[in-house]
Amino acid sequence: MSKRQLAMVMDLNKCIGCQTCTVACKTQWTNRNGREYMYWNNVETYPGDGYPKKWMELGGGFDAAGDLKEGVIPNIEADYGVPWDFSYDEIATFNFRENNPTAAFHADSTPTWGPNWDEDEGAGNFPSDNYFFYLPRICNHCTNPGCLSACPRDAIFKRDEDGVVLVDLDRCQGYRYCIAGCPYKKIYFNSKISKSEKCILCFPRIEQGLPPACAQQCVGRIRFVGFLDDEEGQVHKLVHKYKVALPLRSDYGTQPNVYYIPPTEAPAKFDAEGKIIEGSQRVPMKELETLFGKDVHAAIKTIKAEKDKRAKTGESELMDLLIAYHHEDMFRLDANYYQDVAKAKGANPLAPIDSRYAKGKFTKEIHFKAHA
């Protein structure tokens, strides 16, 4: 366990599935260098197979005794989906005068799966009881990470300063046990460099007091970022004070640090005549229990009670938090904190503070003494 833990809370009532977070992350980190197929941040429709395909059935995480469980490593074409490209080059060089002037514009592969492949399909029958909601997912920067535990080379580490889980690319040799060990399948294999890579919680931004790109760009203002032990912070209040933000699939035993406000605001079901069934629940509680555990009942009760209280009295701290009047208030980060850590280590406060990560990237010489 780290000294402090950064956490993110995502309000599922407010996610509109616009994928702005996905694109923010992709352009920042994964549109190059063998990461093209990876989505460190993705938004999937629930219920649905998700990304990678059926990730919840691929194993990993821990059993009740605390032993790491076996898992399956997804296939790039069948389970992740290979990013295809169009024949721009062919068109740019195509001699339309000499050849039959038909545009030779086509995809370079025939995809069978990809992120968000089953968008908005959901479950149930339209319009009486169909339902779905969006589930944005990043690495959970778990307190007990499955990926870290699976690595036979100790190449994955958890930063003491903020609990961010990172891959030491110098130690990683591309065995991929981490992928089997992560029950969320949020660590990926980069075949170009033959090493594993994952969401870094935008640590170079975090260290400068900026939120991760996915949270900064979120148009629905669904993402809160802060330290769990910061009692004045929204993250602490939502997770520990009101207990309305819950970890995803905590039954995997990795103690994830991304928390979700469960979806409460679905319309009621309709009967055969299309009339509203009063008091009915469109999103089945059973599904929410699967995702967020038994605590979801209490969380939903609290949210509804606070909503009523706000309607009646005009006051509710929880509702004010969830409305998020000012985007900047959703992030409680502290560049000074990181500078103090850097100072204590005697490091340059402007450089990324994690020496181990930096070393992994740039070290030319790691050497045991010969003839010792």
């Binding site: 990993g60 790039i76 740019a92 100790d154 065995y175 170009k192 045991f368």
Partner: protein, 414 residues
């Protein structure tokens, strides 16, 4: 009916030959390296003239079963692995030693392109960084604390790249992101390809499982190559290393300990799932010294197998799995001894029974099976102490136990 009888006879014959082969091959564990004039270390090749008169010996490779990692498909595929036989030959001169190793693999697996679950075939050679007492060689599984090994590894990969492109990040951008077409795009792609490396060939220094660290300072002077013959369905790998380089000095010995590992990509083999040999003695023909090492590594255990079995089953079986039918209470409790007789030396087994702290096997990631710590770490000194108590102290019991433990190994595949 005829066919059934015929196949039964063949099966019978097969068992008969099997009974002979491993006995003679494992008892040997000796490779005679012939002296040659010139070894081209950096560009060693299986077709070099130096191999012309080199005699090969059979070496048996046992499946690594000491720990079981968490890839469900790999575990299912490799569950009933048998030992495999490879042909190994060696040559040397004053400054270098080279090995040729040839093994059967019905499928050529190359890691190439955009893949997530494809693994390459490969092989590795392991040597101690230094050694003095042949009874205290490094632990076969990548060395142990204070007994360092040097590992040279090559895998069948197509182009792969350094994470930071050796500083040239600009040429790591996907061609699709490059605003270039036609000749410009081709030039760009050519430059990108130049940054890639065609063979995944690396050296590591290691003092135990999990500690393996890549050498990146160029101090390791070695060369490796592997080629696949589609007709005979065999890989031939060669590895040459300078006897003295910045990483190790083995120039003074008349015999060297060496071990090899083989990966079968088709069976999801990679770190942790592989076949490995025990420490083999390489006698440098015509060079004095090394007799003690040869004697130690070729010696047959002298103890009483039956007496050893009774002791081991009584004292060790509650923590250690001894065979597929003699399972410990939990597979994570202690090193699995299924193939210990295949890849461990007599001396290592005796030493570990007497003093479990002499070599502490690092085993699993410390966070994977928290209920089963294989060792404790002294907070002040960082020294590891095995959680296994010393089991036997009299030589007779230890010799008997070693004799039994040496019988624990997989069958050899035909």
């Amino acid at each position: 009916m005829k066919t059934i009888i015929k196949s039964l006879i063949i099966a019978g014959l097969a068992t008969a030959t099997y009974a002979k082969t491993p006995a003679s091959a494992t008892a040997e564990n000796l490779i005679n390296a012939q002296r040659v004039s010139n070894i081209n270390v950096a560009n060693i090749s299986p077709s070099d003239n130096i191999w012309k008169n080199a005699k090969s010996v059979s070496v048996i490779f046992y499946p690594q079963t000491t720990i079981k990692l968490n890839d469900a498909k790999a575990n299912a595929t490799n569950k009933d692995n048998k030992a495999i036989t490879a042909q190994v030959s060696a040559v040397y001169n004053n400054s270098a030693v080279a090995f040729k190793i040839s093994w059967s693999d019905p499928t050529q697996s190359v890691q190439s392109g955009n893949v997530s679950d494809v693994y390459p075939d490969g092989f590795a050679m392991q040597m101690p960084v230094s050694f003095s007492d042949p009874k205290k060689l490094p632990y076969i599984g990548m060395g142990s604390e204070g007994r360092l090994v040097l590992v040279h590894l090559t895998k069948a990969t197509s182009v792969h790249y350094e994470p930071n492109g050796n500083g040239d990040v600009e040429h790591q951008i996907s061609p699709h992101n490059k605003n270039a077409f036609g000749a410009d795009l081709k030039n760009y792609n050519d430059k990108v390809n130049k940054l890639g490396k065609n063979a995944y060939t690396r050296s590591f220094i290691s003092e135990g499982f999990r500690s393996m660290t890549e050498l990146k300072d160029g101090s390791d002077k070695f060369g490796m190559k592997m080629t696949y013959d589609a007709k005979s369905k065999r890989w031939t790998g060669v590895v040459a290393k300078q006897l003295r380089d910045g990483a190790a000095d083995l120039s003074k010995y008349g015999a060297l300990p060496v071990s090899f590992a083989i990966w079968d990509g088709d069976k999801y083999n990679r770190g942790g799932v592989k076949s490995l040999s025990t420490w083999l003695a390489v006698k440098l023909q015509g060079k004095a010294g090394g007799d003690a090492l040869v004697k130690e590594l070729t010696a047959k255990p002298q103890g009483d197998v039956k007496a050893g079995q009774a002791q081991v089953e009584a004292m060790c079986a509650s923590c250690h799995t001894l065979s597929p039918t003699k399972q410990a209470a939990s597979p994570f409790m202690a090193p699995n001894l299924n193939n210990i007789g295949g890849y461990s030396t007599n001396a290592y087994l005796a030493e570990s029974i007497k003093d479990p702290n002499a070599v502490v096997v690092a085993g699993y990631n410390r966070n994977a099976h928290k209920g089963f710590a294989w060792y404790n770490v002294d907070a002040k000194t960082g020294k590891r102490t095995s959680t296994m108590p010393a089991m036997m102290s009299d030589d007779k019991s230890i010799n008997d136990a070693v004799a039994y433990l040496k019988t624990l190994k997989a069958e050899v595949a035909k």
